[in-house]
């Protein structure tokens, strides 16, 4: 049995500039951090059951990879040419899908790492991120970028630069614990209860990249300034940048925000938050604020009122800590069994 864990992520600045339509003209950059909420993939050989057993919200029990409905699992098995029956793949997660925290790519990264381990292969972080990106973007034709695959694979605070030649530079931000915990103490994260697929928002956004080129360029460049503020522990200026970035991002596509999101954001800001943004492609998912710890109770109260008022029964706070670890194999006892 092989158990793999991949973290979700919060992106602070630059999200969207990881789309190839932009970075093929000018380098894209994203600054993000992984959090203590994970997607787990479990792979178990079932030598006595000659089937492919896939367990997620539903259970699939089929004879060949082609028959698998789950697109990611099907594509991965076919791509790795795993055709021998007798394998069970299950997935588990700390949070629901479509929250804007990159969970679908975290799943792909975990799945790839696990299935490669199943085949006795071992990828480094860069190879793993690239393999997951290739699977989602080239094989599954998803209109997404590469930031989530890289964030999940590497873990921690990073700046990812997406180059015109499709290579990616990874710069780990060496943040000491004081700055890290200070930022953690200011972060408030709420799931809005509104879900959307990133693809639906990104397809519209992608079609307008040419028109909004200068805005994208500014977003990609803002990563440097944010990094300096992060290293200096300047929460107030970081919050201001997030706010400006969010305003800027909204102009890229009418799908990125909507009246409820705008209202939720305004409510948070009016009850004491210094800045914030919607996480992920937009249109729903999570909303993050930076607020002084003494203001947290007030923002929390206001957001809960707003969720009630808008009938967002799934809207709730997600307590969050930053983590350094990326996608890891927590258990691999396949070899031990072979020894007997």
């Amino acid at each position: 049995m092989i158990l793999v864990r991949a973290p979700l992520r919060i992106s602070f600045v630059g999200g969207g500039t990881d789309l190839p339509d932009f970075y093929h003209s000018s380098p894209g950059r994203v600054l993000s951090v992984t959090i203590d909420k994970y997607v787990y993939v479990l792979i178990n050989p079932t030598p006595l059951v000659h089937k492919f057993t896939i367990k997620y919200q539903k259970t699939e029990f089929v004879d060949s990879p082609e028959e698998i409905e789950n697109t990611r699992v099907r594509a991965t098995l076919l791509d790795l040419d795993i055709r021998k029956t007798g394998i069970e793949i299950g997935s588990f997660a700390d949070l629901p899908a479509k929250t804007g925290l990159g969970s679908s790519s975290s799943f792909t990264v975990a799945l790839l790492k696990g299935l490669n381990a199943y085949l006795g292969k071992n990828f480094d972080k860069g190879e793993l991120a690239e393999a997951a990106s290739r699977l989602e973007i080239e094989l599954l034709k998803e209109p997404i970028g590469k930031q989530d695959q890289y964030a999940a694979s590497f873990g921690g605070f990073n700046i990812f630069q997406f180059n015109e030649d499709d290579s990616v530079d990874v710069e780990s931000i060496l943040l000491d614990y004081k700055k890290k915990l200070l930022l953690e103490d200011h972060v408030l994260l709420f799931f809005t209860g509104i879900t959307r697929t990133a693809s639906s928002v990104l397809t519209d956004q992608k079609s307008k990249i040419d028109k909004n080129f200068d805005t994208y360029k500014k977003m990609a460049d803002s990563v440097f300034e944010f990094n300096e503020l992060l290293l200096a522990g300047d929460i107030k200026s970081m919050a201001k940048m997030l706010h400006e970035g969010w305003e800027r991002k909204k102009s890229l596509s009418s799908n990125i925000s909507n009246s409820i999101i705008d209202e939720l954001y305004k409510a948070g800001m009016n009850s004491g938050a210094m800045g914030g943004k919607i996480l992920g492609a937009g249109g729903g998912g999570c909303i993050m604020f930076l607020a002084s710890p003494e203001k947290h109770a007030e923002v929390r109260k206001k957001m809960n009122e707003m969720f009630k008022k808008n009938n967002l029964s799934d809207g709730k706070e997600i307590p969050v800590r930053f983590v350094q670890s990326g996608t890891d194999i927590l258990l691999n006892n396949d070899n031990t069994l072979n020894g007997f």
Binding site: N122, F123, G156, L174, D176, Y177, K178, L181, Q324, I329
Partner: protein, 202 residues
């Protein structure tokens, strides 16, 4: 006499000032990630370096948590290899000295672990063999070396080399002790901070 002492201290000071801070920071991140995923840290070296490894293990496993020994917090799992002199001599006598670290490491090492390899020259064959094994398993390597860094510095993920002339063991080993204590101090302060925050919030 005073001049002799002064010269040595100046050399130490010079080495300390030229330490690769960024690489030490990378080592902190590697250790942090190992802690989060419940991995283990294996540490080893020859002679004085083995003594440093032993000293560090006791500091890292216990002293880091000294202020909170009564609390049930998850601790580090640092292990010096070989763990017993019996194992050391068994490998050395029966197979060869180049196997004293690789031999035991093969029994233990899992993908979610990390290793700290200590070698002043950066070229000790038994150390390099163990490091190459870790690299093959994609396990993160923190390398503490001296002189020109040697092969260890090339192979490491966190390349902590103390630049000195060839053969300056006293300088290198002294500065290695400083770096290892810095790791201990950083995580001690970190966990103190976390526990204080916990108390404040409860």
């Amino acid at each position: 006499m005073k001049d002799y002492i002064k010269t040595f201290l100046n050399e130490i000071e010079g080495s300390l000032k030229n330490l690769p801070e960024k690489e030490i920071a990378k080592a902190f991140n590697i250790l942090q990630a190992v802690y989060e995923r419940d991995g283990r840290v294996y540490v080893f070296g020859n002679g004085g370096s083995l003594a440093l490894a032993t000293h560090w293990v006791s500091d890292f496993n216990k002293t880091v948590f000294s202020h909170h020994l009564d609390k049930q917090i998850k601790r580090f799992q640092a292990i010096r290899i070989p763990t017993t002199e019996s194992e050391l001599t068994a490998w050395a006598n029966d197979v060869g000295y180049d196997m004293v670290f690789l031999g035991p490491l093969q029994n233990y090492l899992q993908e979610n672990d990390a290793i700290i390899a200590i070698s002043s020259s950066g070229n000790s064959l038994n150390v390099i063999k163990a490091v190459e094994f870790a690299k093959k398993k994609k396990v993160a390597v923190i390398g503490l070396s001296g002189f020109d860094g040697g092969k260890l510095n090339e192979l490491s993920d966190a390349k902590i080399s103390v630049p000195t002339g060839k053969g300056e063991y006293e300088i290198v080993e002294s500065v290695h002790a400083v770096i290892l204590h810095l790791m201990v101090k950083y995580f001690k302060d970190y966990f103190d901070h976390i526990m204080e925050r916990k108390q404040k919030n409860s």
